[in-house]
């Protein structure tokens, strides 16, 4: 448990942490083959580059397979109760904005029981990073459908097929006012590392959806997007300032027809890259990000991967602390006795 931080400051000094520094001594207890392993590894690989002393990290999770995550990180960690991690993380961030606070959650944890805390965190825009392990199933409770499971899904609790329409997590987030929204997948380590670092860098709530495979209860739920053979045609990689191009031979693009995206061929001479939707992470209008977020709901469109939106906006904890500083400035050093004696008092002798 002893820290290996070389320099315990957060300044320019290079801390020289390694992946090993972030590995706790607890046995990792996920099923062999579970996508969670990769997310853990990419996180442990990414953090050293952030140059934050490891005692400043707090990983907060709810309940679910995914939520076991904090036990495996050699940082501060809190495995809380189902759905409530955003609220607990808020209490942590507000009382010490200096910490790097991460919420680790699942599709059930964040979007089913925890839906309310999730959307309120996003609107308040605390500087907290939320990583949602979306495996479209309740893993820990052994395979019921979740709010992201597809309509008609047959599971233990829906033997005749689920009649719930799913949420699109990124759309919910953008509708709730999220300032940073991104998507990545367990099977693309490099991409995930890049996204984790960007999420950390963003000041405000960062929401990252990770396509995660649950090989026990929902194997292959994302294979269309993650398997080599199909990935190129079903995923479009977002790059800021670049047009949306995809396909094995980069032969297809996304164009806006009014406000509706459509796939166009870049090879039949009708359209060129100049006609395509150009990605702008920093669009102040959330519509662009919203369009990207729900492309996936349309089976004819590819799923965008990358950063949908990244926009600076006041963080709750900063605004609160400014008020506190201003009040201190205005009213001076707190004097407890004066406070107690305030108002109309009289003396009995």
């Amino acid at each position: 448990m002893a820290t290996t931080v070389k320099e315990a400051s957060n300044g320019d000094t290079q801390l020289k942490l390694t992946k090993k520094d972030f590995e706790s001594d607890q046995e990792v207890r996920w099923c062999p083959g579970c996508g969670d392993y990769s997310i853990l590894a990419q996180t442990q690989r990414s953090l050293p580059d952030l140059n934050i002393p490891k005692e400043k990290y707090v990983f907060v999770s709810g309940i679910g397979c995914s939520s076991r995550f904090p036990y495996y990180m050699d940082t501060y960690g809190f495995h809380t109760i189902h759905g409530r991690a955003p609220a607990i993380a808020s209490g942590i961030k507000i009382t010490n904005p200096d910490l790097s606070v991460w919420v680790i959650t699942g599709d059930g944890d964040a979007l089913s029981i925890g839906g309310n805390h999730f959307i309120h965190l996003l609107r308040r825009n605390l500087d907290i990073n939320v990583i949602l392990f979306n495996n479209k199933i309740y893993g820990l409770t052994k395979g019921q459908y979740s709010p992201t499971s597809e309509y008609g899904k047959v599971t233990k609790s829906s033997p005749f097929g689920s009649v719930d329409h799913p949420f699109n997590p990124a759309s919910v987030a953008i509708g709730s006012g999220a300032t940073f929204v991104a998507r990545t997948m367990d099977r693309d380590p490099a991409h995930m590392q890049a996204i984790i670092k960007r999420a950390s860098a963003h000041k405000g709530t960062s929401f990252v959806e990770v396509f995660q495979n649950c090989n026990i209860f929902n194997d292959g739920a994302w294979s269309k997007y993650t398997e080599k053979s199909t990935k190129q045609d079903n995923v479009v990689l977002l790059e800021h300032g670049k047009p949306l191009v995809f396909g094995t031979d980069k032969d297809k693009g996304i164009r806006l027809n009014g406000s509706t995206p459509e796939v166009v061929s870049l090879t039949n001479g009708k359209y060129s890259e100049a006609d395509l939707l150009v990605h702008n992470e920093n669009d102040t209008d959330s519509t662009h990000a919203f369009i990207l977020s729900h492309m996936m709901d349309n089976p004819n469109l590819p799923a965008p991967i990358g950063i949908f939106r990244s926009l600076e906006k006041t963080c709750y904890e900063n605004a609160l602390n400014e008020q506190i500083d201003a009040a201190k400035e205005k009213f001076g050093e707190p004097d407890l006795q004066a406070l107690l004696d305030a108002g109309d008092t009289w003396e009995v002798k």
Partner: protein, 611 residues
């Protein structure tokens, strides 16, 4: 005509009017003035659950009751000496408790047929002789106020809203109160609208002048200052006292104060109050619901803050699961529950003590925690302070119970000197060599508090059962039993850290009346009275409901009978019966109101025989 002033030991006055009539304002002002004069006071605000029910209706009546005394008192009074009724509905709902031959001042302008109908009067009580047994003064307050304010050329709507101060002026004259404080209240309250300052001042004075000039009132009365213990006093509500108690605890422990809360009647004022004290570094977080509120406090506690959450019954029900997490992770925090009438939404603006068992058991699994209850408005400061001390020292969530009655009620509070406050020592863990997340302190059994940001103490906590010392997740069956016992023992041991019970009266005898929470005032008043009558009755008051004081069992055995009055259907009485196997007798009242001391007196008579 020369004024005849009669001196009274104490007097109970009730203002009653429409929710829009400003009764709480003038009632509160009479309370403040009386407190400043040096009277002891007790108050009972009583208002409807709607923001403003339709004018003139019975559900729309808002009341404010005030007990003013020249001796030490503990209740807001019972039957009133004077009732000020601003409309028929107010008369209808309040007359029952006016003493025979009591003073009844009514605003006769409002006794028109529509209002009489809304109040469900068949005939006009001002005319049908039904008020003959009172000293009834029918005063055209609306008209008189309009006349007094004629010069100002304000609209009637504005003018009519001043008649509460006209009524207050009458009461001031009647009870010989100085107007100084009321004048400054009016000046500050309406500072932004100078025309209202003038209008209300005129109304106030007109009310007094009316009494002086007309020959209706033969007598006026005075209540001499009470002989309270020496000290600096201020008038305070329970909710304000709680807020101050927390700030004091944070200040003395040098912790930063965090409140996560969701508004709910009658607890919201604690949130409002604490939101003001930003220069004390107080952070308030108005959460999206009660669950987020308590969870944010759990997060703050994990982070080394003095963490609080405040609520009322339905909110406590929602917080149960997260309180269990705080128990499992052994984090210090205080949960304030200002009890109100239940079940469900119940009677949100009325008082009750029916959440005691919920405080004990409203969570899954074996999850004991300390429970403290404040006995009166002014006791809320110390109770809040003490709750913090215990939470921090023993690394445990603590539930602090109050209720609508003492939360909104006000009374003189002897303001403590900061240096007299108990010490609250905090030691965060620092040393990576010796640190283990669940290695307990030998004496307190508390685990160390290691806060994020401390190098080398990185560790994980959570809601799963944990291994002794290391805090790692453990499914070991014997470890679970051990940890269950240790969590219970830690709480039980707090009994060694609380003061012995003070018996009010003889140390043994026929009857012991056991109070908790806000039954204090009525119980003490009743028992004092019966002792003066020579009855063998004593009383004790229990602030620490869990763990119970070590000496309680012994004390209970020294009395032949035990009476436990509660504003519920009998909860604490069962705790006593189960633990001590004593045949304690419940006395219950579930009317959204505190006990009257007379009710307890009657019960004492019944139990001791009338002899």
């Amino acid at each position: 005509m020369s004024k005849r002033v009669e001196s009274l030991e104490d007097v109970t006055i009730r203002f009653a009017g429409d929710s829009g009539d400003g009764m709480q304002l003038v009632g509160g002002e009479l309370a403040n003035t009386s407190a400043l004069i040096g009277n002891d006071i007790g108050v009972l605000p009583d208002y409807p659950a709607e923001i403003r029910a339709p004018i003139g209706t019975i559900p729309g009546v808002s009341g404010y009751q005030l007990h003013i005394s020249s001796t030490d008192i503990h209740t807001p009074g019972e039957k009133y000496d004077s009732l000020i009724a601003m409309n028929p509905a107010a008369l209808k709902t309040n007359l029952e408790n006016l003493k025979p031959n009591g003073i009844l001042i009514v605003n006769s302008d409002s006794f028109k047929s529509r209002n009489l109908q809304l109040a469900r009067y068949e005939s006009n009580p001002l005319e049908d002789g039904s008020l003959d047994k009172y000293q009834c003064f029918a005063v055209d307050m609306t008209d008189l106020t309009r006349k007094a304010l004629r010069e100002l050329e304000l609209g009637n709507k504005v003018v009519d809203r001043c008649k509460n101060f006209f009524a207050l002026g009458m009461v001031f004259w009647l009870y010989n109160r100085t107007m100084d404080h009321a004048v400054s209240l009016i000046k500050s309250k309406f500072a932004k609208k100078p025309e209202l300052v003038e209008a209300n001042l005129l109304a106030l004075k007109a009310g007094a002048a009316y009494c002086e000039m007309t020959e209706q009132f033969i007598n006026s009365y005075e209540v001499k200052p009470a002989k309270l213990k020496p000290g600096i006093y201020r008038n305070i509500t329970g909710n304000s006292a709680i807020a101050l108690g927390f700030i004091a605890a944070a200040n003395r422990s040098k912790l930063s104060l965090f409140l996560g809360s969701y508004p709910i009647t009658p607890a919201s004022d604690i949130l409002h109050d604490l939101s003001k004290y930003k220069h004390f570094g107080v952070r308030t977080f108005q959460a999206e619901d009660e669950i987020a509120a308590v969870c944010s406090a759990v997060g703050a506690a994990y982070n080394g803050a003095l963490a609080l959450t405040t609520t009322s019954g339905p909110g406590l029900a929602l917080k149960g699961e997260a309180i269990g997490l705080a128990i499992m992770t052994e984090l210090p925090m205080v949960i304030v529950n200002v009890q109100r009438g239940g079940p469900s939404t119940g009677l949100p603006t009325k008082t009750e003590q029916a959440d005691l068992m919920q405080a004990f058991y409203g969570r899954n699994g074996e999850s004991p925690l300390p429970i403290i209850a404040a006995s009166k408005s002014s006791d809320c400061f110390e109770s809040a302070y003490e709750a913090c001390r215990i939470a921090i020292k023993y690394m445990t969530p603590v539930i602090l119970l109050t209720d609508g009655y003492i939360a909104n009620g006000a009374e003189p509070w002897s303001v403590p000197r900061v240096e007299d406050l108990a010490e609250i020592k905090v030691t965060y863990a620092k040393d990576p060599e010796t640190y283990m997340p669940f290695l307990r302190d030998e004496k307190t059994l508390a685990r160390p508090w290691a806060i994020p940001g401390t190098p080398g103490l990185e560790h994980r906590v959570g809601g799963l059962e944990k291994e002794a010392d290391t805090g790692n997740v453990s499914y070991d069956v014997r470890n679970h039993e051990y940890m269950t016992k240790m969590r219970a023992k830690k709480v039980d041991n707090i009994a060694n850290d609380i003061p012995p019970i003070e018996i009010d009266g003889d140390q043994e005898g026929e009857l012991l009346v056991v109070g908790w929470g806000s039954t204090f005032g009525a119980t003490k008043t009743a028992v004092d009275k019966k002792r003066q009558e020579g009855k063998s009755v004593s009383s004790i008051h229990i602030r620490y409901l869990n763990p119970l004081p070590n000496d309680l069992g012994d004390i209970l055995k020294r009395f032949k009978k035990i009476l436990v009055p509660e504003i519920n259907s009998g909860q604490f009485v069962n705790i006593l019966r189960a633990k001590y196997l004593v045949p304690a007798i419940p006395q219950n009242k579930v009317q959204g109101l505190p006990f009257f001391s007379s009710e307890i007196e009657e019960k004492i008579d019944e139990l001791l025989g009338d002899a």
